[in-house]
């Protein structure tokens, strides 16, 4: 099976994946990780806001809203 690594913003509604890596080591990266977006954590895309940004995700059993500039920092392995 070939692993399909994409950035989080490329997930469509209903799609999910496993977090592989958070890019960067600045405030955004640490915030994302503090909120539970860490390696090997499953994450699912719930839906986009009416104007396409931000997007609602489900992680660690709760819902979080991320803007595109944040979700592009997250590399996920898409679930088949």
């Amino acid at each position: 099976m070939t692993a399909l690594n994409v950035t989080l913003d490329e997930l469509d509604p209903g799609e999910s994946g496993i977090i592989v890596e958070i890019l960067g080591n600045d405030v955004i990266a640490s915030r994302l990780m503090e909120m539970g977006l860490i390696e090997d954590e499953p994450i699912a895309m719930i839906g986009r806001a009416p104007m396409g940004d931000p997007t609602e995700y489900s992680v660690q059993g709760y819902r979080i809203s991320l803007r595109k500039n944040e979700s592009t920092r997250v590399i996920v392995r898409k679930d088949p």
Binding site: N25, V27, G36, A49, P50, S58, G61, L66, N69
Partner: protein
């Protein structure tokens, strides 16, 4: 230990801390009732809330710390939380117990913050709040097992239903008597940090101690982990040489040892959390759509979501205008009753004028905003507590990012169209300090309801009643609409400039938890609305009250009021006698006297002095004076213009008499003072100027500094002057 003033018993202090949306404020209210003391921490814009624990023999104060996800101390809120918990804040003794509140339905992420607090060495009590959801949704959370593993008491509560509160109260007393043993080093999440980090941390700690800066293990950890964090900034500013280099070098060594800063911390902490909850907490299956997700599918839907948002906003603002009108009239009626009561008791004179025109008018001017504020905050509290507010920010975020703000700024700005005071108070829901400051500084530009009377007066007197498109579109309506939207349009470049030059750096993050929808709790809503109302009356009230008196004094003194008082007496006699010709004559006499006195008052003298300054705007000294007198509250201009154009001070915007008088006013050379250009220049000035002491005082209160109200005043007045000048210069040749 500080002593209580009333009972002189020692006051014990405990701190309440947790993630946002864990029901912390309901728990605080359940523990302390409604008598919290609200203030600001010295030097920062973070709200300080302290309450006395109810139902205990001892005096125990509960400090409600700001909701936070982490103690990494990157924001002012987090820094305050760390400083309070470690006793580093001046004028605030160190709490003896930390009560950590967790959302029982999301234990895993909530324990991240706990893992940091656990390392501070304070005795800890864990509260699993929203326990009712654990039982109703059949979640598996073994609180007892967690308590055993951690060696700290764990109490399960449902704060909005007041369940488990007594037990928590007992646990607090018990822990204050016999503190639970501090955790062993191997119990802490810190023990899972890589060896290389422990090595660097102990070296840095030794060096700091040798420099006479003994620091706690937690502080040293934070120094190493948070690049440009709060502790690094404080210690670098305190003038310790080479500290910045030492930290940098340590970080480079860590990097080359394969310890990725700051990633390793979150990784280690979550690994610790997982080990801790293994077998005690079963995670909710996140794939299946919850009822909340199903609601979200509609409320954030492309069309339905937008329509619903517009509908909610429409509902909020219609309610403000509809339901506030009656109580507002009531307040105005009370004010006029009180005024006539005073007029019955006191003869005309300085004291009566001070009470009626100064104090009652000032207090009434403040209280009249109360119904609007109450209704707006009622809606905000309901929308926030049920979970829609976060969705509204989610829906509006994209539009707001175009001006560099976030979705959370939308509602405060929208509310400012009714009144900037509740709008500015509503910026508290914005966590990012920079976004909050920018929102708060542009909020007074939104066209508030107090500007409308001024526009109506000017438009109906000086804009031609031309109609287009078969009478469907009126020029007056267009001008009115342009004036209403001018502030919002100007706010866009202002927001951009503020963001670029005054609050630069720090890429905007908009990580926002969308917590599940729930029924709003009446006690939480009542508490929030009540707090805001009290704060408004006390703070803004005292200050707008003082400014009103100042303006009153400037318009009253100096001058011999003897003949005015005499003519008022004859007017009152004529009114009692219902002698119409005598009333008219006496009224005219009173008006003449008033206008003579205002011209010779301090305010009138200032008016004459500033005439050269306001002349480029097309104004004469009378308009200048009216504008100055309306700095405490802009709608005052109508009454002042009325007084100056000698019509008595009971004017409203539709009064034909005032319009006529203004149309007849002439410059010394015989040209009319007012024309379309003058009227537009006055309106533009009012659209952009910060003529509202209540707003400025609210900015003062919310930012905890005089700097920002002064800044707002200066920038808005400058904008207003330039705007009015440009308008006059552009339109003068046409009129």
């Amino acid at each position: 230990m500080p002593n209580d003033i009333a009972t002189s018993k020692p006051v014990r202090i405990v701190a309440l801390i947790g993630n946002p949306n864990t029901g912390k404020s309901s728990l605080f209210n359940a523990l302390c009732g409604m008598n919290a003391r609200v203030g600001n921490y010295p030097g920062v814009t973070v709200e300080q809330k302290v309450g006395r624990l109810l139902g205990t023999a001892e005096c125990i104060d509960v400090i409600d710390l700001p909701g936070t996800y982490s103690l990494a101390a990157r924001s002012a809120d987090e820094a305050v939380a760390v400083n309070v918990l470690s006793g580093d804040l001046p004028q605030q003794s160190k709490p003896e117990v930390a009560i950590v509140i967790l959302d029982a339905s999301n234990v895993e992420r909530n324990l991240y913050l706990f893992s940091q607090i656990y390392e501070l060495g304070l005795p800890v009590i864990v509260v699993m709040n929203m326990w009712d959801r654990v039982t109703s949704e059949g979640l598996v959370v073994n609180a007892e097992l967690l308590s055993q593993r951690l060696g700290v008491p764990v109490v399960c509560t449902s704060a909005n239903k007041r369940q488990g509160i007594d037990e928590l109260r007992k646990k607090i007393e018990q822990t204050l008597r016999i503190p639970n043993a501090s955790p062993k080093p191997e119990q802490l999440a810190r023990s899972m940090f890589p060896e290389a980090f422990h090595h660097e941390a102990s070296q840095l700690s030794e060096w700091l101690a040798s420099q006479g800066r003994k620091s706690s293990a937690y502080q040293v950890d934070r120094l190493l982990i948070d690049s440009d964090g709060h502790f690094q900034k404080t210690i670098c500013q305190s003038g310790l040489p080479e500290i910045a280099e030492r930290i940098d070098q340590a970080r480079i060594r860590l990097q080359s040892a394969g310890c990725k800063v700051p990633m390793f911390e979150t990784k280690a902490r979550y690994a610790w959390v997982r080990k801790l909850i293994d077998g005690a907490v079963v995670r909710q299956e996140s794939r299946s759509a919850s009822p909340s997700d199903r609601i979200d599918r509609w409320l954030t839907h492309r069309w339905v979501g937008m329509l619903f948002f517009v509908f909610i906003m429409f509902l909020v603002f219609q309610s403000i205008t509809l339901f506030a009108q009656l109580p507002m009239n009531g307040i105005q009626w009370l004010q006029s009753q009180a005024s006539s009561g005073v007029e019955m008791l006191l003869g005309p004179g300085a004291l009566r004028s001070l009470i009626v025109d100064g104090i009652l008018a000032g207090v009434g001017g403040v209280l009249v905003f109360l119904p609007q504020i109450a209704i707006l905050f009622l809606f905000i509290a309901i929308l926030e507590d049920c979970g829609y507010m976060a969705r509204a920010a989610f829906v509006m975020d994209k539009i707001m990012t175009t001006v560099g703000l976030s979705g959370k700024s939308f509602l405060p700005l929208m509310s400012s169209f009714a009144c900037a005071v509740p709008g500015i108070m509503a910026t508290r829901t914005i966590e990012s300090r920079k976004d909050r400051m920018v929102t708060l500084l542009i909020a007074p530009l939104m066209s508030c309801s107090a500007r409308l009377p001024v526009y109506i007066l000017m438009v109906s007197a000086f804009v031609p009643a031309t109609r287009y498109a078969g009478g469907w579109i009126s020029l007056q309506g267009i001008v009115l609409m342009l004036m209403q939207s001018l502030g919002a349009v100007v706010a866009i470049p202002v927001a951009w400039v503020l963001k670029k030059f005054f609050f630069p750096g720090e890429p905007a993050t908009f990580l926002m938890e969308l917590h599940s929808y729930k029924w709003p709790s009446p006690t939480v809503i009542y508490q929030r609305v009540w707090e805001r109302l009290v704060a408004f009356v006390v703070r803004a009230g005292t200050l707008i009250f003082c400014t009103s008196i100042l303006i009153w004094a400037a318009a009253y003194f100096p001058g011999d009021h003897g003949s005015l008082d005499a003519s008022i007496v004859s007017l009152e006699k004529a009114t009692t006698a219902e002698n119409q010709p005598a009333i008219d004559e006496a009224q005219e006499q009173v008006n003449r006297e008033r206008s003579r006195l205002i011209e010779s008052s301090f305010l009138g003298r200032i008016g004459h002095q500033i005439e050269p300054m306001v002349k480029p705007l097309g104004w004469d000294w009378k308009i200048g004076v009216a504008v100055i007198a309306s700095f405490p509250a802009r709608e005052v201009i109508i009454a002042t213009l009325g007084t100056i154009y000698s019509l008595g001070s009971d004017q409203d915007e539709e009064s034909e008499g005032l319009q006529e008088q203004m149309q007849l006013a002439k410059w010394p050379d015989g040209k009319p003072v007012f024309n379309l250009a003058t009227a537009l220049s006055i309106m533009v000035f009012f659209a952009l100027c910060a003529q509202c002491s209540a707003t400025l005082m609210t900015i003062r209160r919310e930012t905890n500094s005089w700097r920002w109200p002064i800044f707002s005043f200066v920038y808005m007045t400058t904008l207003a002057y330039i705007g009015a000048w440009l308008t006059y210069q552009c339109f003068q040749p046409w009129s």
